[in-house]
């Protein structure tokens, strides 16, 4: 019990420390390009926190999160630019709508065994992408929305610079992390961990596994939608291309790199992959001038395979495990040497 309390205190102080670092960072980093990278990391973190919750605790993968992300972006974009709806209401409508779509899709899926969610979300993501491309009257088709999306503003205070937007994005990301953290350590979290251990054992103890999985899936879709809305109001222009299957795979890579069963994993995974992608954009054209298209997918693919083979719990958990194993061996060695 004492140990549990100590852990809880440690967790809370870690979150507090992290919050302080996040709020100091933009004052230290003044370069606009780096600030924009930090904003994007914040937006992606919100998506990936939800995805990790789904994968790590419900044991299911989604290949459609870019679709939910895009749904949020398009609801916000279309409602605010074409119909003059207040941006905040649009974000809310996007979140509710996306959550509803996820919930409806989830009802039959979570009754099934196996990896149908990966397929259903893959299909759903592609359908959403096709709709974005084809409904030219509403979405502007492949070339994107023609009217520009307004900046978000709080009262008269317009969030029109990277610096101002950074704070909004990271407040949302931190709220997402804290909420996810609470879910993990609540009744739902415990129930879901039992599902991860043995679904049959959990069910025989009266845990309605399907219901909890469905709730987590819906929450993760809502996270993605809110992040999408934030993206739309940050870039102020949207087209279908950032919401395709590649983005879903990118989210998957971020989640996998960070580790699925830890709340710190997403931040690490998103930061590592975003920096890697930005680095590749800079280096690859210099090394292979004729390279075009999405060549970073090679790296994504290789990372997925290597991490899944050698560190299936992700880099953060992997390092912790290696450290714990080392400490355990050391303690063991101390004890045995003490015996002599």
């Amino acid at each position: 019990m004492e140990d549990l309390k100590r852990r809880k205190r440690l967790r809370h102080s870690l979150i507090a420390l992290f919050t302080v670092i996040i709020f100091i960072l933009p004052f230290i980093i003044t370069n606009n390009y780096y600030r924009s990278v930090l904003v994007i990391i914040g937006i992606y973190t919100t998506v990936v926190v939800g995805l990790c919750l789904l994968m790590g605790y419900a044991g299911q993968i989604s290949l459609g999160h870019a679709g939910f992300y895009g749904l949020g972006a398009y609801v916000s974009g279309v409602l605010t630019s074409t119909y003059d709806v207040s941006p905040w209401i649009a974000i809310l409508l996007g979140a509710v709508g996306t959550g509803l779509v996820a919930y409806i899709i989830g009802i039959p899926i979570f009754r099934l065994q196996g990896h149908y969610l990966a397929l259903a979300t893959l299909g759903l993501g592609l359908i959403i992408h096709v709709v974005m491309m084809e409904e030219v009257d509403i979405t502007g088709g492949p070339s994107g929305l023609t009217k520009s999306i307004p900046y978000l503003s709080i009262g008269r205070f317009e969030l029109n610079t990277d610096f101002k937007y950074y704070f909004l994005v990271w407040i949302v990301a931190l709220a997402a992390i804290i909420l996810a953290n609470n879910v993990v350590h609540s009744r739902i979290g415990r129930a879901l961990r039992s599902v991860h251990g043995s679904e049959f054992a959990a069910q025989s103890l009266g845990v309605d596994t399907g219901k909890y999985k469905l709730q987590v899936f819906t929450l993760s879709a809502i996270y993605a939608s809110v992040a999408g809305s934030l993206y739309a109001h940050y870039i102020t222009f949207i087209s279908p291309s950032p919401f395709g299957l590649m983005t879903s795979i990118q989210f998957l890579v971020m989640a996998v790199v960070g580790g699925l069963a830890s709340i710190w994993g997403p931040i690490f995974g998103v930061t590592a992959i975003t920096l890697l992608t930005e680095g590749l954009k800079y280096i690859v054209p210099k090394m292979i001038p004729q390279a075009g298209g999405e060549y970073e997918i090679v790296v994504y693919g290789v990372i997925l395979v290597i991490i899944m083979i050698f560190l299936p719990e992700g880099i953060t958990s992997g390092i912790v495990n290696i450290y714990e194993g080392w400490r355990h061996r050391k303690e063991l060695a101390d004890v045995t040497s003490g015996d002599k």
Partner: protein, 293 residues
């Protein structure tokens, strides 16, 4: 063109694509049955087959030689992948294995992008002549090649399963892996065999469809997904189901694209996927996929 001939036209082109979907679905089902893995890289085998063929034809190889060499090359590549990636993670959880195949598919597509670039390649039809006219509809000779190849490969697959030692061992593995092992059948060798066999099916599908669709580094993505939808339609574990599922999907998609909207062609298959998962998750011929405790 009258409505009847128009419909016939859609059915014919649907059967052509459906044959390809059936071959991809067959590969899915074989791997899934033997190893329990949903192999997201199946579509990339199709792309690799077509790409190797285009390259070999480009350096002057005659068509039959190019076909044989391409199949062998794809089988070697997939064999190495099975040995290197799938086997070393055999004890991993199913989620991990699914993510590995997603990673493999992404990596293969990326490498193809670096090797062959983004430009589409064109391949000449296997035979000259045509198009032929049947009841107001037209059909190009290459479509006949596709349908013929599909039929031959299906017959070969069924023959292999029924009459050869390897096929019987594979079937034994599908029924009961543990019992098969007791009978001296090595499941890991069977896994390699399933992957390499599916690779050959995929590669041949890629080669026969190449003259009709153009060859691009990302063609495997959609073909793989459609093959997957076909496999789910057929129940994910039945070989005849996969074939019928593939042909049905091809025809439905073609009719939908022709009669409703061509832009939504890809959307139609995924709506079908969602409908099947909603209404009959065991596939249209299968039993319910829901398990009870």
């Amino acid at each position: 063109m009258s409505l009847a001939s128009e419909l016939l036209q859609y059915v014919l082109s649907g059967l052509t694509m459906g044959g390809i979907y059936a071959l991809v679905a067959l590969g899915f089902v074989i791997i899934h049955n033997v190893t329990g893995i949903i192999n997201f890289a199946q579509g990339e085998f199709v792309m690799l087959g077509a790409m190797f063929m285009v390259t070999l034809i480009g350096v002057g190889a005659p068509t039959p030689l190019a076909i044989i060499l391409s199949v062998i090359l794809v089988m070697i590549v997939v064999g190495i992948i099975e040995f290197g990636a799938i086997r070393s993670a055999k004890k991993a959880s199913p989620v991990t294995l699914v993510i590995i195949t997603i990673g493999l598919s992404t990596a293969i597509r990326g490498i193809a992008l670096l090797v062959w670039g983004t430009n589409p390649y064109k391949l000449a039809p296997f035979t000259k002549g045509g198009p032929y006219h049947i009841g107001g509809a037209t059909i190009v000779p290459q479509s006949l090649w596709v349908i013929g190849t599909t039929a031959v490969l299906l017959a070969l697959t069924l023959f292999m399963f029924e009459y050869t030692y390897w096929g019987k061992a594979l079937r034994a593995c599908m029924v009961n892996k543990f019992a098969a092992r007791l009978m001296g059948i090595s499941p890991s060798r069977m896994s390699l065999f399933a992957f390499v066999f599916s690779a050959a099916l995929g590669a041949l599908a890629g080669m026969v469809i190449a003259p009709i669709t153009y060859v691009t580094y990302d063609m495997g993505l959609m073909l793989g997904l459609k093959g997957f939808v076909a496999a789910v339609l057929g129940g994910l574990s039945s070989t005849p189901g996969a074939v019928i599922g593939g042909l049905a999907l091809g025809v439905i998609e073609s009719l939908g694209a022709g009669l409703l909207s061509s832009g939504y062609k890809d959307g139609i298959s995924f709506i079908i996927l969602l409908l099947v998962l909603f209404l009959k998750p065991g596939g249209i011929f299968g039993t319910s996929g829901t398990k009870r405790v």
